[in-house]
Symmetry: D2
Subunit: 162 residues, 4 copies
């Protein structure tokens, strides 16, 4: 389901890819894949990234993370019968949160959506944000092949403070 | 959301009603509410029935039940903009399972679906079926206003044995 | 996405297979794939069967069909992270409708659901049922490798008359 | 389903409200309403606003609009059993697009999400953007009770040019 890009031009930007199977249920009465389904495609790509990069040898389990922000730019409608590719990367890491971006394409590399998301490291027992684990910082940077830490004074998203 | 019918002709059959709000997301590219959404409407009506009848004073929590069988007859398409009413009743109670049926209508009492479901009383700790609690038998029968126990030799659904 | 089975023991029963990608969105608060999603998996398998068998060289387009009946026996919960296989066959063909069945498995061939569906050939312009096209009868029978016509006096499903 | 606020403190900000019925299917394995469902709640609120304000006497039909951008800030999890209120307003109108915002609350006015969306007026026959109709500008401004036109040099959203 997930492979790293072999395309040198793209490898700089996105090193993780998830192929999405479009279902008929994904469509709505306007005849295209419904806007909310872009969030579900993104969610699967985000989880695959986190499992593949942080926990390659372990089964799915809840990570100490919550989704704080999701922004989708819709570029082109997706039709039933198409296959969708979601490329994912970590862009920046703050003290308690990190930003990911996703590039969604269909057909012959037609861009259908561009997505930004912010995840907050969250301690479910303490019911509050926690620092992004240092091991994650190192593993994300190693996977992405570039430094990722960010000035913590720059907010991750409107309304996100750390 | 849920009221008992005031219509004497209908009160014999269905004493529990749940009103469903149709969302645009419920539609598919054929322009109507998608068939899978009938299962979601039924699920909400089933849960409302179980909460209203068995646990009227308690918040939602998992009951010792699993859905074993669901059969839907599609009678008429549902359009966005309509409101759907799902009437629910318990039909029969076996040793470890019970059968419910649902009548779905839209618009001016137009029947859009008829649904049968079988629930199995399930002990999650023991990971197996358990007898339907006697208190449930009595409460269902009292709510429905008729005897509900059934000959346990008659299967609840194809493939269901008790 | 779709291949014919190479397993001789299974080839007798189901000659069409669709692999389904489980999404995190398919789960519900009980931790498994929600019951309504079984209908969506079935729908994709049904459409793939119809396209692959009846229209192998044409893009997706609406066929003169409506879903009249769907019955699901839930055998085992599906977990996020599993891949689901839906095997599909045409069982019987009546005058204006035909019956399909589906076998859903996950993991190491663990049966998770058994599904029966009835499709009615439908003339959208005339807004009524129409005879199943003779070409479809022949093509289904050729694909399935066995005769499929049925005694039209035997109903396809409760409440279906032809 | 939709009423104008009677609360004078709130009336300044949001004059349109849509009440959303939470379904069990809206939850995911983390036990809360899934993030993609926030998009579906927003979609219903947006459509209700557009129908109520622009077409109060006409049935649902496709409007010459496409969703170009959607941004969601998740403030608090939504539980099954809660009712969700989505307040909607038009914030700004550009040459060919306009921006809406939504305030989502559950329980006792607990803010669960804040949503921004950008709609582009779209001529489906010409397959391209078109000016926002003057009648819409006037009707939106009259409903909102304040001027809405915006400097067209200020982009509606990242990647949106008019």
């Amino acid at each position: 389901m997930t492979t790293q890009s072999d395309d040198p031009a793209r490898a700089v930007d996105f090193r993780h890819r998830t192929s999405l199977q479009v279902r008929f249920r994904d469509t709505d009465a306007f005849g295209h894949v419904n806007n909310a389904v872009f969030a579900s495609y993104t969610e699967l790509a985000r989880i695959r990234y986190l499992l593949d990069v942080l926990r390659p040898d372990r089964p799915f389990d809840r990570m100490p993370l919550i989704l704080a922000h999701l922004a989708i730019d819709f570029r082109s409608p997706i039709l039933f019968g198409e296959e969708v590719l979601v490329e994912t990367r970590v862009d920046r890491i703050g003290r308690t949160s990190f930003a990911m971006s996703h590039r969604m394409t269909a057909g012959e590399d037609r861009v259908v959506g561009e997505v930004a998301s912010v995840l907050v490291a969250y301690d479910y027992e303490a019911a509050g944000p926690m620092p992004v684990p240092d091991a994650w910082r190192a593993t994300f940077a190693a996977f992405e092949g570039r430094p990722l830490d960010t000035d913590s004074s720059r907010p991750m998203a409107a309304g996100t403070t750390t």
